[in-house]
């Protein structure tokens, strides 16, 4: 019974029966007879309480017979006391011979009240100041303690019961548990200092017994148990992981290491066997609403009628379709990421994962369009939505290079359009990092294809795409990355210079871009996310000195801004 038996940790857990030292107070030493008798009283009172729905807690101490054997022990450990109390609730005691001693001068009802509140064993928060608790015998009948049942009451503050959660029932994240403990400690330490405690007992405290509370908590906790908490309870887990990490970082910085991290407690209770969602009673029509702990108010299943609403051409419906599509793909992506577990996303190793990725890519690229044009269009529509950008950004690391390249090329070919559509979201930046990685593996030919999309004049427009691109942060970063990679390829492989057509194209493009940059007013030049160091040398190779100087001025100035 981990929850209750933590007197060591809880400073205020000074229930007389729990203290083992010399400061033992009256009740505990009262020969165990007391306990038994009082419990018997309680048994009479509480027999009518409905305990039928509760399983006997498996980790509660012994059954009645054993309990009586322990009677003679002077030292009551927690389990014995617990069992005394709880056994009464089970109506398990059978000790009719013991009468309530009259010695105490207490009426049975007040004794009962005493025990009822003792029910509430865990966070016992009272601090009885027993001035002379040392000599037990004399305090019998001492008006200080026993006749004053109010001493033991007023314990509603374990609401929600923080410490007393039986360990086998709870599955709190260790960080969460630690927090709760801290809260409780601080609560217990501060009140005596600050708030004047009331003099009157709270007669309504503990209307719910310990067991009842535990039961409710158990019901709620069982619902939380899952095979896959990372998936089912994502936010809770992530929050406490983050908290833990932060604390670990703090500790690294100098704060003393307070606690070792605990292992997550695995659930003790087996989840109830699959409940039947639909209960059919023979001979009756329809379904019956069955109330279980998973669905206390279950509605009868209504058969869904899927109506396909065809609204051709409606802009809103098309947007809805795109959004819907993005959601479906996101689910696939989440599955893939989940399969990856911890660690950076890599192109997958397992076959199952490869299949998943393949499916996702196809979903993205083709979107059930036969026409290539429309397919590209679909892809662009996905990219026009913020969530779509996030989807692609997270998906890219999983894709094999050739597929990633095709996406990259689609993006560069339609970059001005994407930039225009990104005005509200300003979210293209999230694509930069994965694309940059892809770029670093491009072949020269692919690179040229990418750049060509940017330099060619679109039909019906006097402006080259580059102009628009240079004014956008994502665009310019992408452009610089491409140029930088090209320069790297050329400098590493001198044979490229020999393949004339490609190389000429390359130099032409570089010159063109350089010229465009020089033409652009510095204020319009966007600041790139990264500035590759080999760009200026690149331009030096291909353009005249004057232009280079202009470029230098512009690029560096723009960068500083």
């Amino acid at each position: 019974m981990e929850g209750v038996g933590q007197p060591a940790k809880m400073k205020c857990l000074e229930g007389p029966h729990l203290k083992q030292g010399p400061a033992k107070s009256c009740v505990s030493l009262a020969p165990e007879k007391e306990l038994v008798s009082a419990s018997q009283l309680e048994e009479e009172e509480e027999n009518e309480e409905g305990e039928d729905d509760l399983d006997p807690d498996p980790d509660l101490a012994p059954d009645p017979e054993e309990e009586e054997e322990e009677e003679d022990e002077k030292d009551l450990g927690d389990p014995a006391v617990l069992s005394a109390v709880h056994n009464t609730q089970r109506g398990g005691l059978s000790s009719p011979g013991i009468k309530i001693p009259d010695v105490l001068g207490m009426s049975p009802t007040s004794l009962h009240f005493l025990w009822q509140t003792l029910d509430y064993l865990s966070p016992v928060l009272f601090r009885p100041k027993f001035p002379s608790a040392n000599s037990p015998a004399c305090h019998f009948g001492h008006q200080l303690l026993l006749p004053d049942p109010s001493l033991f009451c007023s314990l509603p503050t374990s609401w929600p019961p923080k410490f007393s959660l039986p360990s086998h029932l709870t599955q709190l994240h260790p960080q969460h548990q630690r927090l709760l403990q801290l809260q409780q400690h601080s609560r217990m330490q501060s009140p005596p200092a600050k708030k004047p405690w009331s003099q009157q007992p709270d007669p309504y405290a503990n209307l719910m017994t310990r067991k009842e509370k535990d039961w409710v908590i158990k019901v709620q906790m069982v619902q939380l148990q899952s095979e896959n908490p990372r998936l089912d309870d994502y936010y809770y887990q992530k929050y406490y992981q983050k908290l833990e990490k932060k604390q670990a970082d703090d500790e690294l910085l100098g704060r003393k290491n307070k606690v070792e991290s605990l292992k997550l407690v695995t659930p003790y209770i087996q989840k109830a066997e699959a409940y039947e969602s639909v209960v059919r009673i023979e001979g009756s029509l329809g379904q019956v609403a069955v109330s279980t702990c998973f669905s206390p108010r279950r509605a009868i299943d209504a058969v869904p009628h899927g109506t396909q609403e065809q609204e051709a051409g409606a802009a809103s419906s098309q947007r809805l379709q795109v959004l819907h599509h993005i959601e479906k793909m996101f689910l696939q992506l989440l599955e893939i990421e989940e399969g990856q577990k911890d660690g950076p996303p890599e192109p997958c190793y397992s076959e199952q994962q490869s299949n998943q990725v393949e499916k996702l890519f196809l979903a993205l690229k083709t979107q059930e369009q036969n026409n290539l044009e429309e397919a590209a269009d679909g892809f662009l529509q996905v990219l026009s939505v913020r969530k779509g950008k996030a989807l692609v950004a997270r998906m890219l690391p999983f894709l094999p290079q050739n597929q990633a390249v095709s996406l990259l090329l689609a993006i560069t070919h339609h970059l001005p359009l994407l930039v225009r559509r990104d005005v509200t979201d300003q979210a293209l930046q999230m694509l930069f990092k994965p694309l940059d990685r892809c770029i670093s593996h491009l072949t020269f030919h692919e690179l040229l294809q990418g750049l060509q999309g940017l330099t060619l004049l679109a039909p019906g427009s006097s402006e080259r795409p580059v102009t628009v691109v240079l004014q956008n942060q994502f665009g310019i970063s992408l452009l610089y990355a491409l140029l930088s990679h090209g320069e790297q390829l050329v400098s590493l492989d001198s044979s490229l210079e020999k393949s004339n057509s490609d190389y000429t194209t390359w130099t032409d493009m570089v010159v063109l871009i350089a010229w465009e940059i020089a033409q652009m007013p510095t204020a319009s030049l966007a600041e790139p996310l990264t500035f590759p160091s080999n760009l200026l040398p690149l331009f030096c190779h291909h353009v005249d000195k004057q232009l280079v100087q202009q470029l230098e001025a512009r690029m560096e100035l723009a960068w500083i801004y």
Binding site: F126, P156, T157, W159, L207
Partner: protein, 125 residues
């Protein structure tokens, strides 16, 4: 001398927007609550007023959230407590201005051929 911890006060927010403050005496797995010595607190701007209500039994489905009130910090508030009559009057005034604004909005939308779903049915979505 003997000391007792004062019982904890809880604050419950209901789905209809009411705020109840009282001592939580009993719960069950549906979050049905029994509140003792409950007070309904109405907030308007920086003012608030408490209406004593006695014992409340709240059906779980109507509970939005429930929290514990730190008794020490309770008195530490920038809000000003006023009488019940005053707060009810303030509430009425606030409601009225809101309704009028709403009416204008609905009219403007109607002029453009649009309509808002009714607020009381929104809850189901």
């Amino acid at each position: 001398r003997s000391f007792f911890l004062p019982p904890e006060k809880h604050l419950v927010l209901l789905r209809d927007g009411r705020t109840l403050i009282g001592f939580l005496r009993s719960i069950d797995q549906f979050a049905n609550l029994v509140l003792h010595q409950t007070v309904e607190r109405i907030h308007v701007g920086k003012k608030y007023g408490d209406i004593p209500r006695g014992i409340f039994v709240v059906r779980g489905e109507n509970v939005v959230l429930l929290g514990e009130i730190d008794l020490e910090k309770e008195s530490d508030t920038p809000l000003q407590q006023v009488s019940i009559e005053e707060i009810l009057e303030e509430q009425r005034v606030e409601q009225q201005t809101r309704l009028e604004a709403e009416k204008l909005k609905v009219q403007a939308l109607k002029d453009r051929g649009l309509s808002l779903p009714r607020a009381d049915t929104l809850d189901e979505y």
